[in-house]
């Protein structure tokens, strides 16, 4: 029987590559830790969802599409604004992180930008208000508590189905992925909003699934090849065996997210970008981080 294959039978020495992978990952994780500290200190590019800011109400004298308005603001470098249409009118609510200072008022800044880029439209700013953050402190705290408990439960489950070492390795790989995403967003100074949090959770789920699949094969082969081969051979053999599955799954997921990334427009770009990075890192970590970690620990115990 013939099959269509993207990878033929491979025999890559993944365990042998572990030191190179660890160095790369160390850099990524350190970056992520810096990002995390900066987020905790409030110094990262957090969205208006977290920081609160100013809400303006703008009234146009004629019909203006939300896309035109967003375009006008983006042109002036104001990309992290939230725009909502007020139904049945030519009015918009614009939410931004900026707050009035003694020197300049937010409505003057935004007003100037609209006037500069939508020259032929008449408008008026009819309201300006300070707004609080939609994501309260409670939500941040809840999210962290939820994550910690989730991780503990997953370690317990994997420890029960596999062994404790597998559970720890899977969790570290997941942390690695989440931190990498955080670090990359921090370095590129991309805006972190509620959707970014969702992306982090999505990738945590994805990465975990991916890791469990690889582990599953290692477990199976460990039982089968117990006496005959050493651990490195078993792990390498297992990863190579599931490699085509790993690549196909990542490929299909990346294609879907890639479509949103390139065609989804600027509002969804950051979200899709986070998912895209996450899928790549999630795939990488189950092969190059989670499995070698199991190898190192197992070897030391013996």
């Amino acid at each position: 029987m013939k099959f269509v294959e993207i990878v033929k039978k491979t025999n890559i020495d993944f365990i042998g590559l572990r030191n190179k992978a660890f160095i790369l990952s160390l850099v990524l994780v350190v970056l992520g830790c810096i990002g995390f500290v900066m987020v905790s200190l409030g110094k990262a590019n957090l969205s208006v969802d977290f920081t609160g800011g100013t809400q303006l109400q703008v009234k146009f004298s004629e019909k203006v599409s939300i896309g035109e308005l967003r375009g006008a603001l983006t042109e002036s470098g104001l990309s992290d604004v939230q725009i909502q249409e007020i139904s049945g009118t030519n009015e918009f609510l614009i939410k931004t992180k900026m707050v009035d200072t003694e020197k300049e008022k937010v409505q003057d800044i935004i007003g100037k930008d609209i006037a500069a880029n939508l020259k032929d439209k008449k408008f008026e700013i009819i309201g300006s208000n300070m707004v609080g953050s939609t994501v309260g402190r409670a939500l941040k705290k809840d999210a962290i508590i939820a994550l910690v408990i989730a991780l503990v439960c997953i370690i317990i489950y994997i420890a029960w189905r596999f062994t404790f070492i597998f559970g720890i390795a899977a969790t570290i790989a997941t942390f690695h992925d989440v931190l990498t995403m955080l670090g990359i967003f921090y370095i590129f100074n991309m805006e972190m909003n509620i959707l970014f949090i969702t992306a982090l959770l999505t990738i945590a789920g994805y990465s975990l699934t991916d890791t469990v699949v690889v582990f599953d094969r290692i477990r199976e082969n460990m039982a089968k090849m117990k006496a005959k081969s050493d651990l490195a051979t078993v792990i390498n053999f297992s990863i190579n065996e599931v490699l085509s599955r790993t690549l196909i799954t990542s490929l299909t997921t990346a294609v879907t997210i890639g479509a949103i990334l390139f065609l989804g427009g600027e509002v969804l770009f950051d979200f899709a970008f986070a998912l895209f990075i996450g899928v790549l890192v999630g795939t990488y970590s189950s092969v190059f981080i989670a499995s070698p970690l199991v190898f190192i620990w197992r070897r030391q115990i013996r």
């Binding site: 007020i86 799954t249 299909t252």
Partner: protein, 530 residues
């Protein structure tokens, strides 16, 4: 084999029919007799996808401070009487309390204030003949604290009310100093929502002042009493009438000590809804005392300064249970129970803005996003067919079933769809593809070992099942915890993902396997297109 295969197909089919029925309202509106038998709920879209109601409320801080001073006034009066501080006059004026005492009572009064009213500051004294007029004020710092607290409390109360009203994923934020911004997705009856959110819901029990009824009819209101209107409904015509009623100013009991409020039907007037309320231990004790001391008198039940009913106390009532009647409709009674349970607002609120807003994401972004996602899905569908040939078609059918089940479940559960929810769907679909890939790769491995088609398919499914099960359960654990501890968008994400994971387990293993088995049984192929 045949029997169980039939059963499996029937099961897949039953779920399919149920899902399609629930999905129907999203695409067409049933007419005529069909309307009665089909569900009518569409998928609720969140603020980010559809927009909704946008309310700006302002807390009446003047009234708030008035209430505050009133409360201090009452408490100070009680405390002075209790501690034997003899005072000649006590009055309140614009945030200032003044007490007139003989000079020898001064130290005693200052002691009392220092001990029990540390937030009151002495604001000077003035000698008037042989009495001293001492004034006390709330310092600015204290006032700011009270206002901040009140806004926070109002925010919490409104959040509670909206939660209980059943609107999911609202936005509730403080705006400026004393304003609250509320955004609600998909509200069917905006007027009702507005009333529910904006009601102060100050519940009070006051005695009807029957001793002075003749003086009241003569046109004067005695000291310590007040006039409120009583609302009553003519049970035959349904028309509301209001009549003035003279009450003792002092509230005997307020809604603060309430623990529960439920809608019940029946009682005195058949099939009329009323609200049954329950007090905590202290409330029950006070209620018991009031009713014991005032048998034969009328006790008025007042909500936001309107008397709803004023029944005669027939006997002492212990146990802390009471009911509020007042010719309510079912809806009114339900909303009243909600506001009583959620608690009162610290002061009345005024609606300054009530508009309908478009989606947070913007219509343009949503359209682009949907197009892009569709393109992505089509690419994946073709890839599966290209890579796995005939088996790819089966995988695509399973994915399609998956999506249909998911949408059906979503509509049936009345969950709110938001972008995080859609991220959950994408992840589920990814996991769905993954399950099929896992199974097919396994089957290929078995075929390479030279097994027959049937043996390879059976072994492939059996071995892949272990993996799929483990990976899905880990995800399920995560979603369960995110659901329990998360709030807002995180919860929405967890709901979609957990529904998706369960459905995925079913279709990937049950649905695809049934199709494979059927093909193998019918066609008895020598080779498999995979």
């Amino acid at each position: 084999m045949l029997k169980s295969l039939k059963l499996r197909f029937i099961l897949v089919l039953i779920f399919l029919v149920i899902s399609v029925i629930f999905c129907l309202p999203n695409v067409f509106e049933p007419q005529g007799t069909l309307k009665k038998y089909l569900p009518s709920d569409k998928i609720h879209l969140g603020l980010d996808l559809k927009g909704g109601m946008h309310l700006l409320l302002e807390l009446d801080t003047v009234k708030l401070m008035q209430n505050m001073i009133d409360r201090k006034f009452g408490a100070l009066k009680d405390a002075m009487i209790r501690d034997g501080v003899r005072f000649l006059a006590l009055d309140r004026h614009d945030g200032t309390l003044s007490v007139s005492v003989r000079p020898e009572q001064k130290d005693k009064l200052y002691n009392l204030i220092g001990k029990e009213f540390p937030d009151l500051k002495a604001g000077g004294s003035k000698a008037e003949g042989d009495t001293l007029r001492l004034s006390f004020i709330l310092p600015d710092k204290e006032i700011i604290g009270i206002k901040e607290n009140a806004v926070r409390q109002a925010l919490e109360t409104i959040r509670n009310r909206i939660d209980q009203f059943g609107v999911t994923e609202p936005v509730i934020v403080q705006q400026g100093e004393n304003q609250i911004l509320v955004q609600l997705p998909g509200v069917k009856d905006p007027q009702r929502a507005l009333e529910l959110i904006g009601k102060t819901a100050q519940l009070e029990f006051k005695l009807v002042d029957e001793d002075n009824i003749t003086r009241f009819q003569g046109g004067s209101v005695p000291e310590g009493s007040e006039v409120l209107t009583m609302r009553s409904r003519n049970r035959e015509t349904g028309i509301y009438t209001t009549t003035p009623m003279l009450l003792k100013r002092q509230a005997m009991l307020t809604g603060e000590l309430l623990t529960d409020a439920k809608v019940k039907i029946g009682g005195e007037f058949n099939n009329e809804p009323y609200v049954a309320i329950e007090f905590d231990g202290e409330g029950a004790r006070i209620f018991d005392k009031i009713t014991a001391e005032n048998v034969g008198k009328r006790l008025a039940i007042i909500l936001d300064n309107t008397v709803y009913s004023a029944p005669v106390i027939k006997e002492r009532i212990s146990g802390g249970k009471a009911s509020i009647t007042g010719g309510f409709s079912m809806e009114e009674a339900k909303d009243l129970a909600i506001v009583l349970r959620a608690g009162a607002l610290p002061a009345p609120v005024k609606v300054i803005q009530n508009i309908t807003i478009g989606p947070t994401l913007g219509q343009d972004s949503i359209r682009k996003g949907v197009q892009a996602a569709l393109l992505g899905a089509i690419l994946v569908i073709f890839f599966m067919i290209y890579y796995y040939r005939f088996s790819g078609v089966i995988a695509d059918i399973a994915l399609f079933l998956n999506l249909l089940y998911l949408l059906g479940a979503f509509t049936a559960l009345k969950a709110t769809m938001t972008l995080p929810g859609i991220a959950g769907i994408i992840l589920t679909m990814g996991m769905g593809v993954d399950s099929n890939v896992l199974i097919f790769e396994r089957i290929r491995e078995e075929l390479r070992l030279g097994k027959t088609v049937r043996a390879a398919v059976d072994a492939g499914f059996a071995k892949a099942w272990v993996t799929i099960f483990d990976s899905h359960i880990t995800t399920l654990i995560t979603t369960f915890i995110l659901f329990t501890f998360g709030t807002g968008p995180i919860k929405g994400f967890a709901v979609t993902l957990s529904i998706g994971v369960v459905i995925n387990l079913f279709t990937a293993v049950f649905g695809s396997k049934a199709i494979f088995d059927w093909v193998i049984m019918k066609l008895k192929p020598r080779s498999l297109s995979i």
